[in-house]
Symmetry: C2
Subunit: 261 residues, 2 copies
Amino acid sequence: MPKRPLILVTNDDGITAPGIRTLISVMNKIGDVVVVAPDGPQSGMGHAITVNDTLYLEKVDIDGKQPEYSCSGTPADCVKLAVREILDRRPDICVSGINHGSNSSINVIYSGTMSAALEAGIEGIPAIGFSLLDYNWNANFEHCKTYVETVTRQALKHGMAKGVVLNVNLPNIEEKEIKGIKVCRQARANWEEEFDKRTNPMGREYYWLAGKFVNMDNGEDTDEWALENGYVSVVPVQFDMTAHREIQNLNTWNLNGKDAN
Amino acid sequence: MPKRPLILVTNDDGITAPGIRTLISVMNKIGDVVVVAPDGPQSGMGHAITVNDTLYLEKVDIDGKQPEYSCSGTPADCVKLAVREILDRRPDICVSGINHGSNSSINVIYSGTMSAALEAGIEGIPAIGFSLLDYNWNANFEHCKTYVETVTRQALKHGMAKGVVLNVNLPNIEEKEIKGIKVCRQARANWEEEFDKRTNPMGREYYWLAGKFVNMDNGEDTDEWALENGYVSVVPVQFDMTAHREIQNLNTWNLNGKDAN
């Protein structure tokens, strides 16, 4: 029998979040699990790393089932520390989540969950970020389990192309309403921010970031379409951010001519 | 004569950093400048946004030349606040930097400077991030000026393709040694982290993130090659992170079969 895979589990909602506890329970069916996750919520951190501050790492015991480490840093820090300081061999896969809230379309760029997966991918480790479209701490993750297991087992079986990680989002609907898993592209969407301006007790004005999500993409091959239509979306995500098609166009600019300025 | 362009200037080193002051001085030659920048250093923040905390915004006067606002949030927050709360019309371009330190190759993903440019790009505003390969606060930015002006003027003249922003890095060499501007792709590179483990005065262990940059890419069309060979690098960067070429491959996985698990 082949050796059980070594699975690194992390997230951005913190090590005690119900989403990561669900992810751990699924991963224990598949392989040997080590958890390295932030000691508190890190949402909206994007691909932050801790360069000007100290990092603390504590071995913790939450359910007695697998080695777990709580870290004062970001999700990307957790992956770096796991690979360099904790694990005695490279993990076969890194899974991040299950995030409490969507990381579909443009959210991928703000996502701590996906930054952990990307960091693992940069290290050459196959990686998947999982997110449920429910922001509640007490969200129900039961219906996610079978889909999380399928995507993870398939990723372990097929391996992952160099430079690519997976962004998996799960709709917040009854399990029997889920139509299946759909491979998608990132929808073109953005947030139309509104700032809620208030005055603090000392009379100083401040803002809260608010706003609504706007999908500007009518394609039926997008993650937004899939999620709205009852599918689990799987988007292959790359960290080569070069817009290769634009290189030829930029070479027509007068960047080196005498009259450039 | 056409109206002078409205230019939004931001950065991630903070509003008083020499890099942004240089950028402002160049932009004043080109158009009407408004500065909205963090009140302190934000390096390594990635594409962070402030979702669980308040945001403060102060009108400040640093050199009496242009309207300036100091913000308690991240570079991405600055762009959002500028567009929604400060500017009375959309800026013609957003420039971010000049960063004290490289944002070439994989650094783009950790970069606050580039997160501001990407945020502007998501808003449909042409945007450029500028970085100098010198981490020192007192770096010499003089030789950057002519190249920053050229790229900005050309971007204003030609416009920017939808979904694309520019990542411009400047080598830390004498102006007369610079060979010109080169359009590039992002080099395949990463950081080989080492953690410096120490013990604090209370006896608790902590870590500092350290490590060295490793370029694994031999291509002569990369930003790393350009910078090592005396060129200013310009990489078109996109925020559609989909690895489109992988979609077909993923569709061969058994994601919806009965024996998937």
